[in-house]
Symmetry: C2
């Protein structure tokens, strides 16, 4: 079907708008009609929380395009407040209702693109239909929320995914007292628990009250506002509630039309974004894509992939060969002064899928430690056990988190291994990086494991062990500031001279602050015939695992050490 005359697009935000613009650039002849149920097209939905928080002050900035600007630039026929009710596949037509007038009419198409997005889940909690209970998906939701949210009021945000976190920060910046409730025991359920533990501290530091591992049972109005009743019995008094418990592909129209739905509940499409009907394409949050690592179907609601899928659907419609490869799930979230980012699979997902993997942790500074303002990037790298292919990465820190995950996302997509990471040649000048960048350091640590230069122990093993001794190779000052209970302190720099003080016949479980000195110590020990393993990521990672509840909570003395050794960088809050 080269150069179809009529292209109809359902949904005018990320994927739909991209498809329309691309289609026009490829064909000046086509008639291109966008139906958008809302009042706005191509608005900055990722910007909504930042307007709520006052970071983006001018509401107009969120309206990236208007029907008029799209008509002028791309000769698009944009019909807002127009809901597509059904698809008549046999006759290639959609039934449209004008929401203002109630008028219904049929619109024929040669090619149809569905970009309906995902709907915010509204759990069936008693009281969730109260007008002071909000979701945030579009401009209207935002306007409604902002009208209600007054400085000094209390708010409860339910769900600590990306949107929930951004909204908690936004409402807090607006002057509200925010409690964030999350059913899981950690924020960002998509991430591994220990990697987001620093976010818990960051939220607390900014006055957000966290309620983890509990869910909302009911929302009850009272004279002063609302009461959020938690599973644990607690009642949170507030003026408003925002539900951010996730999204679900909006597949109503597709289902009604009999299009195939995939196992994960999204519209099933091929690599050209074509649905089970050869004249209908679907893109964005409503579709299932292939996961980059496993190839399994996945629903991954992200703006970048939605835009690319829109572009690819338009190209396919115009007879081009473009193919959508797969989605890695590269994503980032700002939580006050911290950034958390990830790409590929998490440890939790790899375990669920039964995939073999290895992992390392590093915490190098984002730039030369001798240059002012250095802060560590805590990075977890997951890789396969044979060739060392990158399976996934997560990072958290103040600066440079986006850069490292971007670099790793490209390396992963290119099929690079951890050995390739050792050799990456990245920008270095003291204000921007280090001669051995965070990613090189991760490569070294991972390659050392695969080459057999060092063996690792995991915090989770510790309670199970009997015939081992814990050796802390940091300085005496660091040790005094906090350590794993039961550890013997022999600083690495005196290790060669104090070998006799090591417990005899035991396997030595070595750790330092970030993992580097522990590695050197293990090399010293194993070359002398002793059995020794290192804790990748060191005490700093131990503390993250404590935050995640993987290991016993810190005693008083353990809590004191926040800073760490020289490699951890001064002034870190991680």
């Amino acid at each position: 079907m080269p150069n179809p005359k009529r292209i109809v697009i359902v949904g005018g935000v990320a994927g739909g708008a991209s498809a329309a613009a691309r289609a026009r650039r490829l064909s000046e002849d086509a008639e291109i009609i966008i139906f958008e149920r809302g009042a706005y097209v191509s608005f900055a939905n990722c910007g909504l929380p930042y307007h709520v928080g006052g970071v983006i002050q001018d509401r107009q900035r969120l309206l990236v395009q208007t029907p008029e600007s799209l008509r002028a630039r791309f000769a698009l026929d944009v019909r807002t407040r127009s809901e597509v009710l059904s698809i008549d596949r046999a006759n290639r037509a959609v039934l449209v209702r004008e929401l203002e007038t109630g008028k219904e009419y049929r619109q024929g198409y040669d090619a149809l693109v569905l970009s309906p997005g995902a709907e915010a889940l509204r759990p069936s909690i008693p009281g969730a239909d109260d007008p002071r209970v909000f979701v945030l998906r579009n401009m209207q939701d935002m306007d409604d929320l902002m009208k209600t949210a007054q400085a000094g009021d209390k708010a409860v945000v339910v769900g600590a995914g990306y949107i929930g976190l951004e909204l908690a920060e936004a409402l807090s910046r607006r002057g509200l007292k925010v409690t964030l409730v999350e059913k899981l025991t950690h924020v960002l359920g998509l991430a591994d628990a220990e990697m987001v533990a620093p976010l818990h501290e960051e939220l607390a530091r900014h006055g957000i009250a966290l309620r983890l591992g509990t869910s909302v049972q009911a929302v009850q109005p009272d004279a002063r506002g609302l009461n959020v009743v938690l599973e644990n019995g607690e009642r949170l008094s507030c003026k408003l509630v925002v539900l951010a418990v996730g999204v679900r592909p909006e597949t109503g129209l597709a289902k009604k039309a009999g299009l195939d739905i995939g196992p994960r509940g999204g519209i099933r499409v091929d690599a050209q974004m074509r649905t089970s009907d050869p004249n209908i394409w679907a893109v964005g949050d409503a579709v299932e894509v292939a996961d980059f690592v496993t190839g399994d179907p996945a629903v991954i609601p992200l703006a970048g992939p939605a835009n690319r899928q829109g572009r690819i659907a338009a190209e396919a419609i115009m007879g081009r060969e473009s193919r959508y490869a797969s989605t890695q799930g590269t994503a980032i979230c700002k939580v006050f002064d911290l950034a958390f980012a990830m790409t590929g699979l998490t440890e939790e997902t790899l375990r669920k899928k039964g995939k073999a993997f290895r992992k390392i942790y590093v915490h190098p500074a984002q730039h030369a430690t001798y240059y002012p303002g250095s802060h560590p990037v805590s990075l977890k790298l997951l890789f396969d056990t044979s060739e060392g292919r990158i399976l996934g990465a997560q990072a958290v820190g103040v600066y440079g988190v986006d850069k490292r995950i971007d670099v790793l996302a490209v390396a992963q997509r290119a099929g690079m291994s951890v050995f390739d990471l050792e050799e990456l040649e990245l920008c270095y000048a003291p204000p921007y990086g280090s001669a051995k960048d965070v990613v090189n350091m991760a490569g070294f640590a991972a390659a050392n494991v695969l080459r057999g230069d060092v063996e690792l122990w995991e915090p989770e093993e510790l309670p199970l062990l009997t015939d081992q001794a814990l050796i802390d190779v940091r300085t005496e000052d660091e040790f005094r500031g906090g350590h794993i209970s039961g550890a013997l302190n022999i600083p690495v720099d005196s290790l060669r001279d104090r070998l006799k003080q090591l417990p005899r016949g035991k396997e030595l479980l070595v750790y330092c602050q970030v993992g580097l000195r522990g590695y050197v110590a293990c090399r010293i020990l194993t070359q002398r015939g002793l059995r020794a393993r290192n804790l990748s990521g060191g005490f700093k990672r131990w503390q993250m695992c404590q935050g995640a509840g993987f290991v016993p909570p810190a005693s008083e003395s353990e809590m004191r050490n926040e800073e760490g050794g020289p490699a951890a960088g001064k002034g870190s809050r991680l």
Copy 2:
């Protein structure tokens, strides 16, 4: 030669220190001796200009390691102020002079690693031996320079490479009035002229006087200090001069020992960093490596490669199979508020080597334009004409320059094409990026060229053309603010309605502010059978070319437009 007993390393900074540390981690048995001519080992030579400028206030921060710390951690025998005078290859020994005592002695080796670095060139200018004429290579140079440099004095920096630029900024921050003299007509001779034109403005904005395209003929002392006499006759009065005219591999020792020297004047090594003598390795600024793109021998003095080469030499010495691949030349330089970074080859080098290439320019913002603080990243991408492989990239901007060049450096190393760049899945949230990142945008622009969706015109063509018409498709306001002389203004949004106003029978040379609207305009025009080409990078790139002298300087009216259209981002200084 597995596990040699005695490893001798000449030079204790980047490459040498890395080789020593790695060798120790691989072997606790070896005797490892480092000879360092200077007083310090493993100091932060990249940090020297920042201490001069007061950004790194504590001089101690530059001393990353000391002989004592290296002895404690790695059991290294570090001998500073010890110069290796010659190599007795037949007997595997070096002759060493203790600089403090004048005592000379022989030191045998099983494996020898040369890491002598590069020496700062001192051009044979009359007067260049005056003690107020400095170079900056080590701690001593820095200390000497800082003793002389007094706030309020005038200084002349000769040479505008990375070090010259960093020093000009440093001395200016120290309160000196700085003139920067560069023989070439642009700073950073390794870069393409138009891509560093914004640095000229940035330097001027911060009070650095630039003298481009002229060289220093003599340095003459007078009663008030020094006079720097330029080729153009100008005399610059000053209190001190810093020479930063480049470096040369320090190959004296290698040459005297009869080791092979390569065509570019560096020590010749194989992929394991082994010289023509099987018991001698060489690493760092003194060696020749293979250029990543061409495979040609190249001398690329960078800290990252030096560190990796040191590591690889140590592994080779210990019988491991590691290989040094090649060097891309990824580098970055801070010039006040701007960053310039590059990877791979430049247009100038590609032309010199006679390699066919295509190029595009884009200027997207570093993050969502609706999020506060957005600034453009001006990116030039060079790629091959057939498969679209990445040949090189350069970028300049306020934020996010390092990230984009890092991403492109990884993509280049992985052998990715511009089509792969379209599909990269990078971190996106409004504070960090855009759903279509700078690198995606570069991929789109480049792929459009290779797919034949748009043809481009180049600023350099303009004076040669006769049967063409220039069409400016920006808004009337933008046009009034400045345009290319002779252009006809038809805003893209009214182009479809004003086709009749286009000159008949002429090829249309279209441009907009950054290249996006020009591309849309060309699609509109060519699909109607008109001949049209776009200016990649738009008027903004035109202005960069003006800065580089490729095109006629701006008239009064052209100068007024600094800001550009909506896509250029508000508040930009680029």
